[in-house]
Every structure is written in C-alpha cells, then in structure tokens.
Symmetry: C2
Subunit: 319 residues, 2 copies
C-alpha cells in the first residue's frame, strides 16, 4: 500500500467543525456549546477550535441555503474569482479555506474533525478519504477500541480519480464522524452524547501522539464506496416506490444479488441485480433523494496499516 507521510511534529492546530449541514443538529449544538464553554476541547499540548461551518444553514435549519457546502471545497470553487452571484456556500468555503487551510499548503490545520448526522441507521461511521492516510487510520482504530461493544465502521468514500471536495480536505488530516439514525432538525440526547465522546477520544488520541506515543501496525477492516443506486422513478422523475422493508435500516449488512431493494407503489418488488454481495449504506438518507441516491453500495475489505512511529523527542537546549 502507498502510505501517505505521517506527522513529524505535534498536531497543535486542530478544528472541530459542526453544522457543515445546518440541519444535522448534533454538530450544530455541540459547536455552539463549545463556543460558550471551550474548556472541553483543551488538552495539555493543544486546544481544538470549534467552528460552526455553515451558520446561515444552521440558522435556517436546512442542509444548505445555496448549495451543498460539503461539495464546495474543490480547486475550481476555491480558486475562482469571487463573484456577487456565488452561492452562499461557495463564499463560505473560501472563508473556511482561509481559516483552516489553505488547502494543500503547509499552513493548513493539522486535523479537521467534521461532525455529521444521517437519517440512515449507520450507527457510528468514520469517514476517511483513503486507506493511505496512516495517521487517520490509527485515529479510527483508537476510536474503535474505545467502545468495542458498539460497531464503529470505517468508510473510505473517495472514488478513484475523484477530487476531494469536503470541508476536511483543506486540512492536512481529516476525519468525518457520521452518526445515525437521527432525523434532520432533531437533536437526540443519545446521539449527542455519543458524538461528544468520540470527539473527546479523538482529542485524547492526538494528545497521546503529541506526548510521544507510538502505535503498532494492525489490520483494518473498512468499506469502500462503489457508488449510489437511485430510487425507482416514474417517467416524469417522481418516485415510483421506496426502499424495501427488508433493506430499510440494514446499513452495513450484506446484500445478495436477487434480494429485494425497493417496493413499488404498485405493490411489486425490485430486486438487486448486481453480480456480487455488497454492503449498502446511507439507506434512505433524506438528503440524498435530490442527489438520486437511495443507498450507496460498498465493498468490505481488509488492509494493513503500518505502524505510526513516535515523534522524535524535542531537542533540549544544552546549556
């Protein structure tokens, strides 16, 4: 595996972004709380910065007001000349790139942790770009070990040749926390507490690393994005059915060819026609109706993550 370089210095510039989608309320209200009471984000070697990523969408309790902020961090959007016609989120992406990046620069934040909710039954899902991000894979492993009784899956979302477009991509390292199920516009105490604990464990891991801990190599199981499957549609594009009861809420469970995936309003079933077993996720996520995605197919695979070496001790000045 082609591993990306690991940090050689302590991570001191860490941000926790919530409200990237304004109706995913765990992150919105965690960040608003931390802006009032920032002590929870402090560790001996650093203090993480809480950032309300999309204030206008959070105020309106909508995913976005102009366009999806979490798709706006492409070089095209970030480098284009600003125009009064730019959607709010394109302008906001440039602001966040200045605050947390610039993307792909040495000045960028060391780590961005981006907080999300989904209406799908994904439980705790850790979203990274690729398996090559050694530091992030060790962070995922650390989070998995904190609550071994709960499934905590790793999704590698980036498809081959695709440019990264999410808020965390402006930083040197990033991880998305995706917790569900939670309806849009609802703040569940159980999901809120789970996300808060994951953020605390993330900061603890960074602190361990900063203090000089080393982490051994391990085998990681993860799910790789194979692309979306749309709902059945009528000739005019309206829904002709919805997710089958036998698929609903079964995120990360194996789907075999021939199994039902949709129930048409006419009463018939639509079965999965793929050639091999896949692991559907984001099943019936509210925000994906407009993207033409009823669920995302993934494949499960295992790979080796190399050791994360300890930081070299800070040279002590010899008197």
């Amino acid at each position: 595996m082609c591993a990306l370089p690991v940090p050689r210095e302590p991570l001191r510039r860490v941000a926790v972004t919530g409200g990237t989608h304004g109706n995913e309320l765990s992150g919105v209200h965690l960040v608003r709380h931390w802006l009032r009471a920032p002590g929870e984000l402090r560790r001996p070697s650093f203090a993480a910065t809480p950032v309300l990523a999309n204030p206008a969408a959070a105020a309106a309790c909508r995913r976005y007001v102009g366009c999806d902020l979490n798709r706006a961090f492409t070089s095209g959007f970030l480098s284009a000349k600003a125009s009064p016609d730019d959607p709010y989120e394109v302008t906001r992406a440039r602001e966040l790139d200045q605050l947390l990046g610039p993307k792909a620069s040495g000045a960028a934040f060391d780590l961005v942790l981006d907080l999300h909710n989904t209406t799908a039954n994904v439980g705790t899902c850790l979203i990274a770009e690729t398996a090559h991000q050694v530091f992030v894979m060790h962070l995922c492993r650390h989070l998995q070990l904190q609550t071994p009784e709960l499934p905590c899956r790793v999704l590698l979302y980036k498809q081959p040749g695709e440019e990264s477009y999410h808020v965390g991509s402006v930083a040197k390292n990033s991880l998305g926390l995706e917790l569900g199920p939670q309806p849009q516009g609802v703040l569940r105490a159980d999901v809120f507490s789970r996300m808060r604990a994951l953020v605390a464990s993330t900061l603890d891991f960074v602190e361990l690393f900063n203090q000089g801990a080393a982490f051994p190599a391990f085998e990681m199981e993860a799910y790789r994005n194979l692309g979306g499957v749309d709902f059945p549609r009528t000739a005019d594009g309206d829904l002709a059915g919805t997710v089958h009861p036998q698929l609903q809420d079964r995120d990360f469970e194996p789907l075999q060819p021939g199994a039902p995936i949709f129930q048409l309003f006419s009463g018939e079933d639509v079965c999965y026609e793929g050639e091999s077993t896949v692991y559907p996720i984001f099943i019936n996520e509210a925000a994906y109706y407009e993207k033409g995605v009823a669920f995302i197919r993934t494949e499960k695979f295992t790979f080796s993550v190399p050791a994360l070496p300890a930081l070299a001790p800070t040279p002590t000045l010899v008197p």
Copy 2:
C-alpha cells in the same frame, strides 16, 4: 356530552389530503400515486378525491414555504381580502377552502382525511378536534378495530375557546392521520403501507355507513391536549439541552412529576415539575423546535360515544 349532529345523508364528497406539510412524505407520495391511479380511492357509493394540499412545499421538500398551511384555515385568513403580500400558504388555504369548503357551509365536503407524519414515536395517532364529533369517533373506533394488535390512539387537540385552523376544518367532518416515527424528507415503506391501509379502512367505513349500517354506542379512551412544554434555553434563546433519553421515544407513556424530561449540555437533568401524571406526545418533533415545543402534554380520559344511527332508507318511487 354535547354531541354534534350526525350525517343524515350518504357521504359522497370525501377528500384525502396529503402534503399539507411538504416534507411529510407518506401523504405526499400516496396522493401523487392516487392522482396517477385513482381507482384505489373508489367505493360503490363514492370516489374520494386525492388532493396535494401544498404543492410548492412538497416540491421543495419543506414543511412550508411561507407559513404553516395547517394553521392558516382561520376565519381571519380565509375572509381577509387577498393581497400580493400574502404568504403562499394563505393564498393556498383560500383555494382549498373554495375546493373543499367553504368552511362551515352546507356546500362543504362531507369528510376530509388529512395525512401527516411526525419524527416522534407516536405510532398511529388519530387526530380529531373534540369528543363531540360522533361520526368521527365512530370512524376512529372502526380504525382501531382493524389492527387491534397495534396501538392506535385518539388525540383531541382542540383547546377550549380555540378556533379551528387546520385543513380539515373546512369540511363537515375531518380526521388527521399522524404516523411516526419518520424523518422529514424520508419515505419509509412500513409507514407508507400503514397509512395506505388506514385510508382504505376509512373509505370502507364510509361505504358501510352509506350502505345503511348502524353502529352501537361505545366507550372511547382518548388523549386531550394540555399544551406544549419548551426546551431549556440559554439567555439568548438557543437550546441549552434536549429531550432526556428517559423521555425520548416514550410518546403516550405516563410521565410522573419528578421524572427527568431534559438533559442539559452541562450534564444536569431537568425534571418534570407538574402536579399530576401526564402523557407526553410529539416528543422531539422536528417541526416544533421553531414553535418552542419539545413535547405536548396530554391527559388520558374516557367518554361515552352515542350510537351512530343508520341512514334512513332512500325513499323508493312508487310506480
């Protein structure tokens, strides 16, 4: 009890309204399906009319675009002179009043069945104005008897002295079907099927009545609206906590004085300070955050519903 008059003629003008709130998708997609395939709404003595109540909100997948349509059927809104500044929903309320009413007139529809979803765990909830509506109470009883294995509660929402304001109030009889939990913007097959079956049973009941069936008196248990309870708030009006895990998802279960109702972000619990047991409903409903309602308190009570007499036989012309 002061019973309202029962129908003396067959009910032939029946409407099923969906999408009164545009992001409650069971009704939106049932109505769109019936507009393409209306046969399901036909019975020997009548054919129900499917109505997409709020097309603009359904197209945007939002509760409303200007103001809440289901609060716009007051005499103030309906009788005021139209103005170009009227919110979309006020104009739409007047259109629906012309189509299904006029409210409180002899020309109004005999029955409107209005389809709703909630993010709260209410199961199947039948919403009527008051216990005095004898025909509607018999309809509720009929629906309860169709699925005795599932709880199917009756909520009497109208508070003393309050004017009715919902879409069904333009008709001579009305009932709201409120099914949950379902996130806004999500169409679950199980909820869709349950709502479809309830609509079919409603039309079957009307057909039985139209064919001359009589229905005996019975005792009804119902829940009466005692008003809402707001979330804990910070000084600037932001959320300071959310619904307690011990209350979340416990709609229609008894809440005792002293039991926890909110969990603050600071970690403390807030307990219920009422003097008697209540039955909270619409617990953590997404649409009620902006209305300042974390849940609605109800009291449970039992009352007698008088018999619903058979229609007099249609006089036969003597040759």
